[in-house]
Amino acid sequence: MASLPLIQCFHVAKSYVAGEDILRDANLQILKGEFLFLMGPSGAGKSTFLKMLLGLEAPTRGHILVDGRNIHRLSRKDIPAYRRTVGMVFQDFKLLPRDSVAYNVALPLVAAGRPPGLVRSKVKALLQFVGLEKKAGTPCCRLSGGEQQRVALARAVANDPWILLADEPTGNLDPCASAVVMELMKAVHDRGTTVVVATHDPSLLEHIPEARRVHIHEGVFYEEAEASSTVCASALGGPGWD
């Protein structure tokens, strides 16, 4: 089903402090409709890469194209619309804790100026999708971690993005809640969305065995096959990924 490259990175380098490259010469193509695990130890630059894909950080060198457009050359007024084509889920959920579940899910739709009738029906469908329609009116701070992450997922896909980015989506969840969230991500992927999940937890891979696996090591991307032969023993150390 995967065909055209949706995300293309050419010689991407990123440093927050001059001389300390987090990404060095990272090249990667992600095809439309792919499910990709981005692996790497803590501090490897997974979150940094996802932030660059969302346009929250700019690469120091190199280019990132999404659907053929260089996202760091977008004009100011095109950035919000671009971000609506990319949904993002965080390890710490980033919900508005005092506001209701429905309100949090409605937010990207309202911000995009969708008409109230559509917002209402869309929120209903999204809550049904993540199995939280009974908690629509509950403030998010009264939900369990797993439920909060489901709200965050519903919010991330509210505007039907092309791409879903997830940064350690199960980092704060127990195995059972993690499984539910991963199931939902798979369902989002099955609808044709390109999904990129950053994690350092190899057990997540079991949920989607057919997914593509890319590792970041010393600022460069490696496909798993390459990675296992070149860097597995030396640098990644610790637990393997299979």
Binding site: L56, I79, R83, R84, A106, L107, A111, P115, A156, N159
Partner: protein, 296 residues
């Protein structure tokens, strides 16, 4: 919950106000105080302007002609006066016109004009002098020359107000304008400060909005509204004491002389004008606070 953009903006603005009531209330009070004092000053100034027109147009003078002056004589005086180099304009006014004008200007004092069997006023020439650097001297020489003409009964110029009185008035007015300006600026600044505080206090909230692709205008609008709400509430607070003053003035002074003249005689208009100024000030404050934030 607000499912439309405006529903969202309003809910967030009111919510923000409730979350931080203390700075918001201080802001409201400062706006109320500045609006009250500024408008009090404006109304007072307008009252004086109405009572003492000469004060503000020192280039005007009135030449009263002798009663029963023939048409030819009148025409001769008018031509002479109009021919002087420092006279810009000279118009003839019949006794009826002069009386009518007085009636209009002193609308409250009808009883003074009643019981007049015949018009006691003489015909007059209304003269406007050319603007010059030394208006005092111009008026003085105009008065001297006019008095020496035949057929002239009296000459009235702004000279009637001594230079000192006018200087004092000008100083008072300058001080008033300065004070009102300072008050208005400080209320703009305090609204700006309150809005900025609210904005950075809700960083978590708008960081989420940035991620979900909300345009900057969507992120800022609730904070604009929160500021404007402070201005409007301040205006409502200022309206009560100001309305009291207007009522009091209406009782003490002849009607038509005071606030009615500004069109603020009814409570609705007064409230409207206050709310407009309050909203304008607080919008400026909010704009100051949110000018450079949330740019991509």
């Amino acid at each position: 919950m607000g499912l439309s953009r405006w529903g969202y903006y309003l809910a967030r603005a009111v919510g923000g106000f409730r979350k931080n009531p203390l700075p918001a209330s201080v802001s409201v009070l400062v706006v109320a105080l500045s609006l009250f004092l500024t408008w009090l000053f404006c109304l007072g100034l307008w009252g004086i302007y109405r009572v003492v027109p000469h004060l503000f147009s020192p280039s005007k003078a009135v030449v009263y002609l002798e009663k029963g002056l023939s048409v030819q004589e009148t025409e001769r005086v008018k031509k002479t006066v109009a021919g002087w180099s420092f006279v810009e304009e000279c118009r003839y006014k019949s006794p009826e016109e002069v009386l009518e004008e007085l009636r209009r200007r002193y609308a409250g004092w009808d009883d003074v004009f009643q019981g007049l069997d015949e018009n006691p006023l003489p015909p007059a020439l209304e003269v406007r002098l050319r603007a010059s650097d030394d208006m005092e001297a111009a008026l003085r020489s105009f008065e001297e020359q006019a008095r020496s003409l035949g057929g002239v009964q009296d000459v009235l110029t702004a000279q009637a107000w001594s230079a000192e009185t006018r200087r004092l008035m000008r100083t008072l007015m300058g001080a008033g304008i300065f004070l009102a300006g300072a008050l208005l600026v400080s209320s703009i600044l305090i609204v700006a400060n309150t809005v900025r505080l609210a904005f950075y206090g809700r960083r978590d909230e708008w960081e989420v909005l940035l991620v979900v692709g909300a345009p900057p205008s969507f992120i800022k609008m609730p904070f604009y509204l929160e500021g404007i709400l402070q201005g409007v509430l301040g205006a409502v607070c200022a309206a009560f004491p100001l309305w009291g003053v207007v009522r009091l003035a209406a009782e003490v002074l002849p009607p038509g002389l005071w606030a009615g003249a500004l069109g603020l005689g009814d409570a609705g208009a007064l409230l409207g004008v206050l709310i407009l100024t309050g909203a304008g000030l607080s919008w400026l404050g909010a704009r100051l606070a949110l000018r450079r934030v949330v740019s991509y």
